[in-house]
């Protein structure tokens, strides 16, 4: 009998087992434990079809057994049914056999369940285990000592080491082909160098000596690990003589890189190099790492029953879905493959009502003072829980006259059973509140504070995603009517809040989704905002938080139609803190020169204490723009601050017109470097009128730092940036360019309605879910 933690479950290399990686609590050592595991998948269909299928499968050499069992396969089934359980001889055949069965049914006659979950994931679900569970084990069993949802859990001791590889004669961000030999490798604090074969052997020895549980890299999926594998192979090592995990792994990625499309944009997913028995976390290939770090990721891994290495590389949407799966499995429900529930039939009128989104008031363009901001914390998840909004409980058959109906839409919420979404969300809301409460406790150590904050951030991401995911076309348990209902309840709630705000002495100037900006009816006698928040929280039984008062806030217009648009503003709180939304500084692809320019302008405006003072400082802001323009024109601006980032939207061969991106891609191709759609390229604009890819741009990888650049291109960007911030004060890009002696191009983006912008904001949150 031993006690410790379950760190990870990985697939056995024999295809018939999983490997449990257990950390001994007393000795701190890692134990490898192989468990035979051949999970079934399930086939539902007409009785005769299933009988025929079972006979057919007896002849399939890949199938170990196909037997009938009675269970409730789908979330929408009220009663158990007879379905076929299929077990393959090897786990890698599960998906292949499932595809054969689906094809046999013409892709319509069979419904399959539990097909695309990995054996480690299924192992967790079937054994009530989860990553980082405290466990007790003996020869027969491994058992968790507490449920995954435990709020105050102890973290296991985890050793982490950074890994960094450098290649002979090139910068890490330079022109790397990946065929160069390795010059140095850093493992933790140890830097290794020497002849390549000896170096690689020492790397392996050093990893074994330090024996970290986590290998941390920055871009290890795209660079360090494949570089190491490639060179190891080149100098004569193989998968059993050179490996970084706690047992040998293949030199191939566990998932190859790919480009995909989501919400009309092309994205790129980096390859994944995961290790058995040791976690490889690539901080550059992790959406969640920045906010969550290890404590947040461990929280997500526990709740989702997904390996830490998986969670780190996935979107919050995937984590949320996995949490839903865990709750579904607790109820005995299985996980549908490919198919989800379509939209219900409805009238065009109802569709119009349902599609309205969460906009209440468009913001008034311009600079305002005496503005207070309030936010509902987790408004949408609260609505989903409170109104019992879930795919299978909306418009249920059991409650024709329920207590709750979506305002204006009439969708009924079940009174008799709690839906899967509320069951998944409620514990998350409870956790988040509990962690926030602990954060307010006096005497927390900095480490404890950090851990709690990371968990809170992780939970926030998951809660935000849960709403958008309801409207996502591939959501396993999603349903559009839930999405519509949530919006309808939110609109009703905010509309009610408008009246209450006016009674309390406020006028609402802007409201969107879960935030509210208000001005006192009488600025000389403003209401007490804290008291207002408390009153409203009581009145609506939802926590309304006071975000703060602005010295001034500027709501920005859309360039196309000049009206205010949601979520584009910048303002200065009375605490001296800025809040920026939808301006260049917030975007990672903004060239440094523009971020610097915006930074200087904000610093300048930071001295203004009122809207009038803000307006008075606009001439000085324009003078700063002139100074920037002057220096850009001189051609002396540091080149690395002028690098522009662009996402590639298609293959090089598919571009019809010659653009900066095409020139950059050609240049990279010339250096032997390929970039896939969805990946980002960075370049300096050398001469935007050039027709040759050699002269038009300089890619970042080849940048020396003394190349000439095209001042006109950057003045154009500068003017755009100045217009973004100062448009409400009448500053126009064309006028600035004329003042700097340049004429402007006339192109403008297409019109976007406020609703579509809100939708886009939600979509952006959802990106990467696929």
């Amino acid at each position: 009998m031993a006690e410790g933690w379950l760190f990870d479950v990985t697939e056995g290399r024999d295809g018939t087992s999983v490997v449990l990686w257990l950390k001994d609590g007393a000795r701190g050592t890692i134990t490898r434990r192989a468990e035979p595991f051949l999970p079934p998948f399930w086939v539902d269909g007409a009785r005769t079809d299933l009988t025929d299928l079972a006979r057919e499968l007896e002849k399939d050499p890949r199938v170990a057994e196909a037997t009938f069992q009675v269970l409730r396969p789908s979330l929408y089934d009220r009663r158990p049914r007879r379905v076929l359980s299929v077990v393959t001889r090897r786990n890698p055949d599960r998906r292949r056999v499932a595809t054969t069965i689906d094809a046999r049914g013409g892709y319509t006659r069979f419904h399959l369940y539990d097909v695309d979950l990995t054996p480690p994931h299924l192992y967790h679900l079937e054994h009530q285990l989860y990553p980082f569970a405290p466990v007790r084990w003996d020869a027969d069993t491994v058992a968790a000592l507490e449920p995954a949802e435990t709020i105050d859990y102890a973290l296991p001791p985890i050793r982490a080491a950074e890994l960094e590889v450098n290649l002979q004669g090139c910068r890490r961000d330079g022109l790397v082909r990946g065929t160069e030999s390795i010059s140095t490798v850093r493992v933790g604090n140890v830097i290794l160098e020497g002849p390549e074969e000896a170096l690689l052997r020492t790397v392996r020895e050093e990893v074994v000596r330090q024996d970290p549980d986590v290998l941390l890299t920055e871009d290890g999926d795209g660079a360090d690990i494949p570089w190491l594998y490639r060179r190891a192979q080149a100098v004569g090592f193989n998968e059993t003589t050179f490996f970084l995990g706690r047992e040998p792994a293949r030199f191939q990625p566990s998932r190859a890189a790919f480009s995909y499309q989501t919400y009309g944009t092309i994205r790129h997913r980096e390859a994944a190099f995961v290790l058995p028995g040791r976690f490889h976390l690539d901080t550059g290939n992790s959406f969640l790492w920045g906010d969550a770090e290890l404590p947040g990721l461990i929280e997500a891994a526990r709740l989702s029953r997904l390996s830490l290495q998986t969670v780190a590389r996935q979107s919050p949407g995937t984590c949320f879905t996995a949490m839903e799966m865990a709750h579904a499995r607790e109820e005995g429900v299985h996980i549908p493959w490919k198919k989800n529930r379509p939209e219900a039939w409805k009238s065009g009128r109802k569709l119009l009502d349902g599609d309205r989104g969460g906009v209440i008031f468009l913001p008034p363009v311009g600079v305002h003072d005496h503005v207070d901001e309030f936010d509902f914390a987790s408004l949408y998840p609260h609505i989903m829980v409170r109104q019992n909004l879930s795919a299978e409980t909306l418009d249920c058959r059991c409650c024709p006259n329920p207590r709750r109906r979506a305002p204006g839409l009439g969708y009924r919420s079940c009174d008799r059973r709690v839906g899967l979404i509320p069951r998944t969300l409620e514990p998350l809301l409870v956790r988040r509140l509990a962690y926030k409460a602990r954060l307010r406790r006096p005497g927390l150590s900095p480490l404890e504070r950090e851990i709690l904050q990371r968990r809170v951030k992780m939970l926030k991401w998951i809660l935000v995603t849960a709403f958008g995911y309801q409207g996502y076309r591939n959501a396993r348990f999603g349903r559009i009517e839930c999405h519509e209902s949530i919006n309808a309840y939110a609109r009703e709630l905010l509309a009610g809040l408008l009246h209450s705000a006016e009674r309390s002495g406020y006028r609402v100037i802007h409201g969107i989704v879960d935030s509210l900006w208000v001005r006192p009816l009488d600025p000389t006698h403003p209401p007490d905002p804290e008291r207002f928040a408390e009153t409203m929280s009581r009145e609506f039984d939802l926590p309304l938080g006071y975000e703060g008062r602005y010295r001034w806030i500027v709501f920005l217009p859309a360039v196309t139609h000049g009206l205010g648009v949601p979520n584009r503003y910048y303002g200065l709180y009375s605490t001296g803190e800025f809040k920026l939304r939808g301006i260049g500084s917030r975007r990672h692809d903004t060239p440094v020169v523009l971020r610097r320019f915006e930074g200087e302008l904000l610093q300048l405006f930071g001295r203004a204490r009122t809207a009038d003072e803000f307006r008075a400082s606009v001439p000085r802001a324009l003078a700063r723009a002139d100074a920037f323009a002057e220096q850009i024109r001189e051609g002396t601006w540091p080149r690395e601050e002028l690098l522009i980032s662009r996402r590639i939207v298609q293959e090089l061969g598919a571009y019809v017109t010659f653009s900066d991106s095409v020139a950059a891609l050609r240049q990279l191709a010339h250096h032997g470097i390929a970039r896939a759609p969805g990946e980002t390229i960075r370049y300096l604009v050398a001469d935007r009128t050039a027709r040759s890819w050699r002269d038009r741009v300089v890619v970042a990888e080849a940048l020396r730092g003394d190349e000439p650049y095209d001042p006109g291109a950057y003045l154009e960007l500068l003017a755009r940036s100045a217009e973004t911030l100062l448009a409400p004060m009448g500053v126009r890009r064309e006028a600035l360019l004329a003042r700097w002696g340049l004429s402007s191009d006339k192109e403008r983006g297409p019109y976007r309605s406020p609703e579509s912008l809100v939708q886009r904001r939600l979509d952006e949150t959802m990106e990467g879910i696929a």
Partner: protein, 293 residues
């Protein structure tokens, strides 16, 4: 009153044709070539039947002409440029509301635009709400959802008793190999075709299928799908849009005419197979047209 409103709606329909990418490389109006390709000869069973009642009003002429293409228990296919199909469909929704019809729409390309439909209705003198209430729809966002919706369409049609069934771009979701494994496309669309045949057979309702890619884009439709009452091709012409009926060999040329202006068709040689449907309305493109006229 109604017809003047209709003219305005048709005018806004026409103005869609001024979008440059819709104007074809030009050619005589009788060229059968279009974006559709040839009609499959043998498998498409076109049978003459009585026109369906109440699908569309008989005036204005456009509705009368379109209404004649429908038959109970049979399918009518519209093929051609998708933006043209969409505009014409929005007019049809309004026309159906005018005839107090009820539409059951399966939306396969997520292009249902209630605002534009309401506008078309208003141009015909109708309030937006009854126009939108007259359409019951479900949108598919994945190929599998589309299959599930087609499977349940008969039940929906029996519940709702519509006057016209419409499938808008049903094959559209099957064309993205990232979303649907390519080997599933054909079997699934053949299944859809069979289900559509059962649907019209069982309900006896007319079905309109808009397939911008024509039969080639819809495997199984010709062999396994419903009986066809007609195939209408929408071909952009410099003067407007030409609607061609495969069954009757009749064509409707929709041309634009400014107020007080004599139409080109008055000078054209008489053509027994071609109806010209001019309409008077404020013209967005008067300059060019009146110079030519």
């Amino acid at each position: 009153m109604v017809s003047r409103g209709a003219a305005a709606a048709l005018a806004s329909f026409h103005s869609a044709w001024s979008i440059p990418d819709l104007v074809p490389a030009s050619g005589p109006a009788s060229t059968p070539a279009g974006p559709v390709g040839p009609v499959p000869r043998v498998p498409v069973r076109i049978r003459r039947r009585l026109p369906a009642r109440q699908v569309l009003p008989t005036t204005p002429a456009l509705f009368g002409w379109l209404g004649k293409r429908f038959a109970p228990g049979e399918a009518t296919v519209w093929a051609g440029a998708s933006s043209a199909i969409d505009r014409l469909l929005e007019l049809l929704y309004a026309g159906s509301a005018l005839a107090k019809g009820r539409i059951s729409l399966l939306e396969g390309a997520n292009r249902f635009n209630p605002y534009r439909i309401a506008e078309q209705g208003q141009a015909l003198g109708l309030e937006p709400t009854p126009v939108l209430e007259g359409i019951h729809l479900a949108r598919a966002f994945t190929a599998y959802q589309l299959v599930a919706l087609v499977d349940g369409w008969s039940a929906e049609a029996r519940r709702r008793r519509p006057t016209l069934l419409i499938g808008h771009e049903l094959p559209a979701l099957f064309d993205n190999p990232e979303e649907l494994p390519p080997e599933e496309r054909e079997p699934l669309l053949r299944h859809v075709s069979e289900q559509l045949a059962e649907l019209v057979e069982g309900t006896g309702l007319p079905l309109l299928l808009t397939v911008s890619g024509g039969f080639a884009a819809f495997p199984g439709l010709a062999e396994l799908g419903p009986r066809f009452s007609d195939l209408v091709r929408l071909i952009p012409r410099p003067a407007g849009v030409e609607l061609g009926s495969a069954r009757e060999g009749r064509r409707l040329l929709m041309v634009h005419r400014a107020p007080g202006q004599r139409g080109l068709e008055e000078f054209a040689p008489p053509d027994a197979t071609q109806e010209v449907n001019p309409w008077a309305a404020p013209l967005p493109l008067t300059g060019r047209h009146s110079r030519n006229g």
